[in-house]
Subunit: 347 residues, 2 copies
Amino acid sequence: MTELTERQKRILMLVVREYIETAQPVGSKRLVERYRLDVSPATVRNELAALTEMGYLTQPHTSAGRVPTEDGYRYFVGQLVNQVELPSEVQHTITHQFFQARHDIEEWMHLAASVLAHQSRAVSLVTAPHAEKARYKHLELISTQGRQVLMVLVLAGGEVLQQILTLAEPVSQERLSRVAEQLNRLCAGRSADEIATLSSRTDALENDVLTVLLRDMRAADERVSGEVYIDGLTNVLSEPEFTASGEARRALRLIEERSLLQDLLARTVMKSNVGGLQILIGGEGTWEELHQCSMILARYGVPGLVTGTLGVLGPMRMSYTRTIPTVRFVAYLLSDLIQETLAGGQA
Amino acid sequence: MTELTERQKRILMLVVREYIETAQPVGSKRLVERYRLDVSPATVRNELAALTEMGYLTQPHTSAGRVPTEDGYRYFVGQLVNQVELPSEVQHTITHQFFQARHDIEEWMHLAASVLAHQSRAVSLVTAPHAEKARYKHLELISTQGRQVLMVLVLAGGEVLQQILTLAEPVSQERLSRVAEQLNRLCAGRSADEIATLSSRTDALENDVLTVLLRDMRAADERVSGEVYIDGLTNVLSEPEFTASGEARRALRLIEERSLLQDLLARTVMKSNVGGLQILIGGEGTWEELHQCSMILARYGVPGLVTGTLGVLGPMRMSYTRTIPTVRFVAYLLSDLIQETLAGGQA
DNA sequence: GTTTAGCACTCTCGCTTCGAGAGTGCTAAA
DNA sequence: TTTAGCACTCTCGAAGCGAGAGTGCTAAAC
């Protein structure tokens, strides 16, 4: 692939920008008029032809304006990604909102989703922070009725697992409390594997609890991410490319089908580090459902301890200029909060 | 309003049924053909005219078939509501699914939402069970870093509240544990008001924790419902009345705007008792956003202790025959599960 | 007094036609 | 290398038209 001349770069950027704004194929004349290029439409037409030849643009039909291809968007984003910053007043507003929610972790998630959705005018996805390796912090056994016991397991990092145990026979709350206390002494701070090795408890009840507890912790280890918070679904419904046609449905199905979504987040996110952004344009060939969509994802948290993913899913035609710095900023903010509150004990 | 003759009732029911199935205005000829009525189309036309006069039907334009009005739907539902039952094999399938999820309360919610969405082919809403009066069960204080403390408060009924405390000065985990233990002894089983009266703690740290704790419990009392689980969003997007036009957007906005949704659930649900169904057709005049929609809601849980709401939001043209018994059945099932596991200790 | 057949009338919906508008590529001149 | 001019292409919206479905009314039949 040959190099682009300066003018070609300029024109390509403008075409993408214009198309993102208007959702209309952009023609040579429009371009010259709107951006006061000091060349004639004919010249621009030649350049457009060249860019089309190189695969950055297409035309929906012979005599229409140009529309960016996936490669066109990629070039655009590539130029942009390290340049734009969020306006500082926006930064301040967001910071302030998070400050007000500083007491409630769940609220952080809602807020992050809400901010991302608002700024990007697309669908936002935020997964709750999740420890890579579950560590036992505290267990609580709550008697309810007869053989049913509610087990609440708090993990280091703040995750809370709930589970209902059905015991072989009724057990008093006192006995349950004793068992919980004992296990708390035994397991505090340990991972599933560590707990497994020091096993060999004689007490049957304790053993039962331990089994379930280990299964839960291992299940938590398997999971790639915590709960997923979503916001901004309505944003995307108003976009022209999503009206009617199945496009919207397919993308939404992906979101509703949690297993798919988990898979998607897992695969893409594994590759990226905290601090870096991952930008997928048009599903990158792998994701049928995301044909017309782009995703901008980031990891946040404290590497090796608790991490989560956040990002935005929108039409390929989304406002990258606004979304990219927002995703970056929110990820940075959340990482900071987590560093301060959740990971502190272990850092 | 004069009485309907038997034949008019029959025809009205058929018109609604047919319209729900086809989404097309239904005409006299179709009706006679499809349902083998032993009268001529002309007769049916007369009856249709009468029903239109009475306000049960309308026609979109002068020479089209009939479409049910809101009153038409109401009549239909009124006839139906105490008659239909869920096929027993469906009941078994659902029961089985819940049996498999018996260990995980959160999973019940997802499952309930999923079942409702599937059966009704519309959007389902399920709120987590929520105690009318929060009762303290157990407190946990987890030191993280310096002055930040993670507070986990378990309420009777299984709700878990999390909150981050920022203390005036750093405190050791041992001290935190002692305070928690003391509060646990003091507050176990009590409501916010009860705890407030026996206050007058001398210890400053204990006082701080208590203050936040009370605020949280009171906030929980204020809340009408727990977290909202939603499923089946994609179902509704495929319905013809939701394509393009703002209808879908408006309804979805209602769902995303959690405050609105809470309000809606609160207002409607207050009126209905556990076991009974509430059916809103066309927003019942009050809800702008639900112009074209119907909701079928039920409360579940143990009255006076923990209750939640579940139901379905769909186009006015939804399949009531299927949805009504499903909502009823799932509510019954969840009530049962909760009775067995969560409320047992107090019943 | 119902019920029904017949009929004129109305309205939508899908199809085609057509012209305006926007944009293109090519050629030849600056 | 850039630009003006021009013929050509393609979409899109408006207008026109006919088929089809449904209605309401009237008058005859049961």
